[in-house]
Amino acid sequence: MNLAMTDRAGLRLSPGWVRAGIVVLAVVAWEVAGHTILDPEFISPPSAVIAAFPRILADSDIRHAILVSFYELLAAFGIATVAGIALGVPIGLHRFTLRSALPLVLLIYSIPQVTVLPLFVLYFGIGPASKIAFGVSHGIFPILLNVVAGAQTVEPAHLKAARSMGAGRLLIFRRVVLPHMVPSLFSGLRLGMSATLLGVILAELYGSQAGIGYYTQVFTNSFDPAGMFALVAVLAVMAIILNEIVRRAERRASFWRVTAR
């Protein structure tokens, strides 16, 4: 279906350009408002935010904070990925483990994780360990559940064909089950990545002396909105880049699924 909108003069607008236009318009409106009606102690226009970048990036404490957050995020995501796959594959592969373990996973997943955040700080301390642990607790579930779901999508006809050609269990796993799991593993990784980021930031905001989350509070409390926005922008860029990497990998891994049917 052609999504371009044609107006009476025959001018064609693509959704992408309109979207870009809306974003530009919003930034301009923000800029204008920043110079006229908004209180500079609370909000800064985009130009001031951009101007604040060199300042915050020059500050070695803040550079360190960005690195700390990045390290926590990567460590948490790595652990969540390894653990999610290590638990998800055996759970998804057999009917017995699926029936007995999946209800437990869903039970634990249904606990609102924010409520136990103080416990993470209590057990893991105020340093990076509690942030990583809390990030893992957020990231592991989407990964695990998607791996399990992937194992359920295995085509019975493919299993039968492989069996008829003499494939044993190991070969069937490697050549039939694994390829089926990969696309949904990658969607799990994408969701797990944003969940991990949420967990890490939440934990940083809750109680810490380092990381981006901590410094956004510092900037807020010292009425430096430009610095704060710049820091948030750094984090947003980090989130978008990581998200994009995983999304591309996901698309590559599932090319046959998108086009096959």
Binding site: R99, P112, V114, L122
Partner: protein, 254 residues
């Protein structure tokens, strides 16, 4: 409920029982300092006390007030914006990636801003909860309308349906299950973000109470509050699923 569902429930209950027994054992054997893991019976006593003397309901009232205010805002904004965008494929293509992109960034990072603008009281919690709950509602509304089988639309067009008839008779009924599921997710996300924002910076409500007890090293009471919140979340979740399944049944029957 089917046999498998009963089995799953039995496994879950068994797991909870084993956890509680393990907890009691650890407490009796003094394996872990009670500051880290208070004895089970102490937590239960505490839970009974705060429920029977009503203290917990004061905090619950504050949190629920914030939640319903936030939810009302999110629902009104999410459904209106969702329908306005969802009616045209063009505007869906414009806004859906934008909204998805914003939702992929952890909005919690803006929490200090909400507090800066609206203060440390309930207003910032309401605004923050409403912002988080808005996204699933608006995205599911758009997605639900977008996923309506094109054949239905073609049939309705061939029968001469007007735009309004198309919306009322085809798009809305076909999209409702997806929209309702967004409404449910929005409610839960709203609840969790309000608890979270109370924890990070709040003076009142369940979240703030948990943190204050933790800071006072009154772990038994903190555990009691945490269990209470988990219980409330489970009750709200069950109510919502019941509502949702009843709603889907009615929608399927009509």
């Amino acid at each position: 409920m089917t046999g498998t569902a009963w089995r799953a429930r039995a496994i879950q209950i068994g797991f909870v029982v084993v956890c509680v027994l393990g907890w009691i054992y650890v407490g009796n054997a003094r394996l872990i300092s009670p500051i880290f893991l208070p004895r089970f019976d102490r937590v239960m006593t505490e839970l009974l006390r705060i429920v029977s003397n009503g203290t917990v309901f004061v905090y619950l009232g504050v949190t629920l007030f914030e939640l319903f205010a936030a939810y009302a805002l999110a629902l009104a904004a999410g459904l209106t914006v969702g329908f306005l965008i969802g009616r045209s494929r063009f505007w869906v293509a414009v806004f859906e990636p934008l909204l998805n992109g914003i939702f992929a960034v952890p909005i919690v990072i803006f929490l200090p801003l909400f507090i800066l603008f609206l203060g440390i009281g309930i207003e910032s919690k309401i605004a923050f909860g409403a912002t988080y709950a808005f996204f699933p509602i608006v995205l599911n509304t758009i997605g639900g309308i977008g996923a309506v089988d094109a054949r239905f639309v073609t049939v309705a067009q061939s029968l001469g349906a007007t735009r309004w008839q198309m919306f009322k008779r085809v798009l809305l009924p076909a999209a409702l299950p997806v929209i309702v599921s967004g409404i449910r997710i929005g409610f839960l996300i709203g609840f969790f973000s309000i608890i979270g924002s109370e924890m990070i910076a709040g003076l009142d409500g369940l979240g703030s109470q948990i943190v204050q007890l933790g800071e006072g090293m009154n772990t038994a009471a903190m555990f009691a509050y945490i269990l209470f919140v988990i219980l409330i979340a489970a009750i709200l979740n069950t109510l919502l699923s019941l509502l949702q399944s009843r709603f889907n049944r009615v929608a399927a029957a009509s």
